[in-house]
Amino acid sequence: MTSAKPFSMRFIFLLALAVPASAVCGSAVASTTGDPSAWRNDRPEQPSAVIVRNATIWTSGPRGKLEGGDLLVRGGKIRAVGEGLTAPAGALEIDAAGKHVTPGLIDAHSHAAITGGVNEGSNITTAEVRIQDVIDSTDVDIYRQLAGGLTAANLMHGSANSIGGQTATIKLRWGAPPAELFMANAFAGIKFALGENPKQSNWNVDERRYPQTRPGVEQSIRERFTAALDYRRKWNEHNASRDRNRVPPRRDLQLEAILEILDGKRGIQSHSYRADEIIMLMRIAEDFDFTVKCFQHVLEGYKVADELASHGAGASTFSDWWAYKYEVIDAIPYNGAIMWDRDVLVSFNSDSSELARRMNLEAAKAVRYGNVPEEEALKFVTLNPAIQLGVDDRIGSLEPGKDADFVIWSGDPLSTYSVAEQTWIDGRKYFDRADDLARRDAVTAEREALISKARSFKEKPEEEGEGSDETAPAEPESETEPETEPETETDAEPTAGALRQGVNR
């Protein structure tokens, strides 16, 4: 069968990779990695205790970096980080000599795993829409990002309008349904956007809508805060009234979300580039007596670093992007370093499902451009985004009591030559490169078998009557059969029993 050509070639290459040279030793826990269908992946088991031994541990916490350190996990939480730790009986031991361990990486600006559109761009302000309603836990990019050491991400509404939707912080629990990815306890966030995008500078739209200028963007935001205060006043009046037959005010989901900002219960994550608009939004916040939680992109943040620090806003920026729009002509890769140097809480983000697979290397750019110390640079993608997202009580550093979200790297996490070997969330191993490599031939074999099966159905003679053997699923044709055995589960008759086995979760 000639059509199998690309596969057989691919297969040879995969087999060559199937024996990883430097897999972490001693990890016997099953992970369900390597399958591109989220729904087929069981939640990995959570060993009662895990100890990772002899690693270089970058804690992103008060313990700094430990050489030859141990990490002890119990019940999905970090119990201890230190040297020569005693593990409880039955603990899963992972010898990580020569390896590095870091907290799970966090992407403070992601549009992955969102279904049905990332922008509700129709109206100027859409604070009522929520990313949590549209998390797509089946997006294979979740798995690909796990493979790059990412464990959490802030899923963002787009930047089409000045007040966009409510953000959702998720953990990359590949295989779980959407609700189980969502970190419901994270500090609530909302997307704002300033500059060229909300003023529609770069799109071909038939009908222009307000605003078309930065001053218009400012007023569209101020107007909503004023409206939210009016809304509160109406409710206060109503609640104070003793008249039981008083017509109540209408609930308004948009204004309720905006009121949460004013009450400090929902943090603004604002897309921004230029220094002028960054100052503008901080002044609006100060006029309404709250703090902007975090500026996103904030590529001219270095120009107003002192103002950002004084206001108390975080800055989540690109490591080195520039010159793709006029408003980023002054972007510099030293942005992170200058802001960090002037006491702004800095993170690096991806804004890209591709880039999110290598945030450790983005952190390395803070070392390249601006000599940020390596441990501080790593915090740009661990502790700092955790603080910006209000989840630093649970993730972002390897400290006792926090969630056991960590990555085992083949080497220095800031080195371009290092790869993530294992990625753990809540003390469960969600990615294992060795398992992934080992599973590839099974995935290939399954594909081949299904294609053969489909073809055998297709080529079935029209006239065969009932009672013939036509209904039996075909075996894969021998020419296309790979050298290894296809997985039983996929090679077996697709009975309901097998089906259930496939979805047993």
């Binding site: 591109p36 004084s310 793709y324 110390p373």
Partner: protein
């Protein structure tokens, strides 16, 4: 930290452009010629912009100016194999886009004539170690011819190292891509494909006829045909003097493109492609097709492909024996970020491509593919003194680039807009009594 600071200080003393001596010796460096293994404590001797000697036993002429480069690593400058650098400034601003002409047959278009010598993007690229680039137009089926340029110079004529490096041709897609913004429908793709194939074949037929008539005229056997710039530009492709850069990304598209090139007897072929090409390694090697591999950092096209399918593409091509270099995609966004080219190669190295091959894939292999391997891409006697100084392996992001030279002339990093802005705002007076967190932070970028 202190070590690299010392280096920075030393390098700061080096003369910058306009003040270089005829003979210059860079002494005591670890030299990485790329064409051969690294040499510790070596000297590079440069005369009139050319390397005249490399090694540990180099005799330094008495009148030479010497620089102590102890602790510094010298590498050839990176060669960017395909970009619209210099042809755009801000790709979203229409007035700054000079890379994409309309129409299907633009074979007469020459990229170099719009190369903007004072583009703000160039000094930034050079600070990142990119010293040579190959710039090509992107519009139409026949896109025009490309040029190899050095990134420092007075104008495009001065900066062009080679014109007519290749004729660039986009082979049509056979099927719609999925995803992305407004992907075309299957029908649109089919229509586009038929239109493009028609343009491809008709234009080459016409070129053949034109070349025949022209040859006959030269031999005095026929009157001279009316000049046709679009066809004339393609004549060197027919006889193999100029390589055809054929663009095809997706597997079936690549296979069809290769079939087409074979049928059209294109003898000098460069495939501009993506990770799918790695599925065809054996064929590419057997046919001697050279490959310009983009998309090393791309996500796999298909959800069932291994997560690192693109990362490993270079390794697979290498193992199949394919001659290749690595690019970054080369679109308008990429033009501003060419300095990340070495990190594409680094990702391939992290996934099985031997380190020396990875380094070569963004230096000498690229230069050879572009036909400028005798000028740049390695540090050897007779070649241009186009090199960079670093404090370590330049495929490592953490490594810093301390200096750069093009044809022996030191690049003035202070012309880098980003370094200027850095310096300006790093020196902004701080709020009362606040001190820099890291000693030397503001030294960065003053090399």
């Amino acid at each position: 930290m202190s070590r690299s600071l010392t280096l920075l200080c030393c390098l700061a003393l080096l003369p910058v452009s306009g003040a270089f001596a005829a003979t210059t010796a860079y002494v005591g460096a670890t030299v990485h010629p790329v064409s051969s293994p690294a040499i510790e404590s070596a000297t590079i001797l440069v005369e009139d912009g050319k390397i005249v000697a490399v090694g540990t036993e180099v005799e330094i002429p008495a009148d030479a100016v010497s620089f102590d480069m102890t602790g510094v690593h010298l590498y050839p400058g990176f060669v960017h194999p395909l970009s619209v650098l210099g042809l755009t400034e801000i790709s979203s601003v229409r007035g700054t886009r000079d890379f994409s002409e309309i129409g299907e047959v633009n074979s007469d278009i020459r990229a170099e004539v719009a190369f903007h010598a004072d583009s703000e993007l160039l000094p930034v690229a050079m600070s990142g170690g990119i010293l040579t680039a190959h710039v090509a137009p992107t519009g139409g089926v026949f896109r025009g011819t490309s040029a190899a340029v050095k990134l420092e110079g007075w104008n495009w004529e001065d900066m062009t190292m080679a014109s007519g490096v290749g004729a660039h041709v986009a082979y049509p897609r056979l099927r719609a891509r999925t995803g992305g913004f407004n992907p075309p429908t299957e029908e649109e793709v089919k229509e586009r494909k038929e239109k493009a194939l028609e343009a491809l074949n008709e234009t080459l037929d016409d070129t053949k006829a034109y070349a025949t008539a022209m040859a006959a005229a030269l031999e005095g056997k026929a009157p001279k045909p009316e000049y046709d710039a679009k066809l004339a530009a393609l004549v060197p492709v027919l006889d193999g003097r100029m390589p055809l850069f054929l663009y095809a990304d997706e597997l079936s598209q690549i296979e069809s493109a290769l079939d087409w090139a074979k049928e059209r007897e294109i003898s000098n072929l460069v495939l501009v492609t993506g990770p799918d090409a790695a599925y065809l390694g054996e064929r590419l090697a057997a046919d001697g097709v050279r490959v310009l591999l983009n998309g090393v950092l791309a996500r796999p096209d298909r959800d069932w492909e291994p997560y690192d399918a693109a990362y490993t593409a270079a390794k697979r091509l290498h193992e199949a024996g394919v001659e290749f270099c690595i690019g970054d995609g080369g679109d308008g966004f990429d033009a501003a970020h060419v300095r990340n080219l070495p990190f594409h190669a680094a990702m391939a190295a992290a996934h099985g491509l031997p380190h020396d091959v990875a380094l070569r894939s963004v230096t000498l292999s690229a230069a050879e593919l572009l036909g400028i391997g005798d000028r740049v891409g390695s540090l050897e006697p007779g070649k241009d003194a186009t090199f960079i100084a670093t404090n370590g392996d330049p495929l490592e992001i953490k490594t810093q680039i301390l200096g750069a030279w093009i044809e022996g002339e030191k690049i003035d990093f202070s012309l880098d807009r980003q370094k200027r802005l850095h310096e300006k705002y790093d020196n902004r007076p701080r709020p009362d009594g606040d001190q820099p967190a890291v000693e030397g932070l503001r030294e960065q970028g003053k090399g």
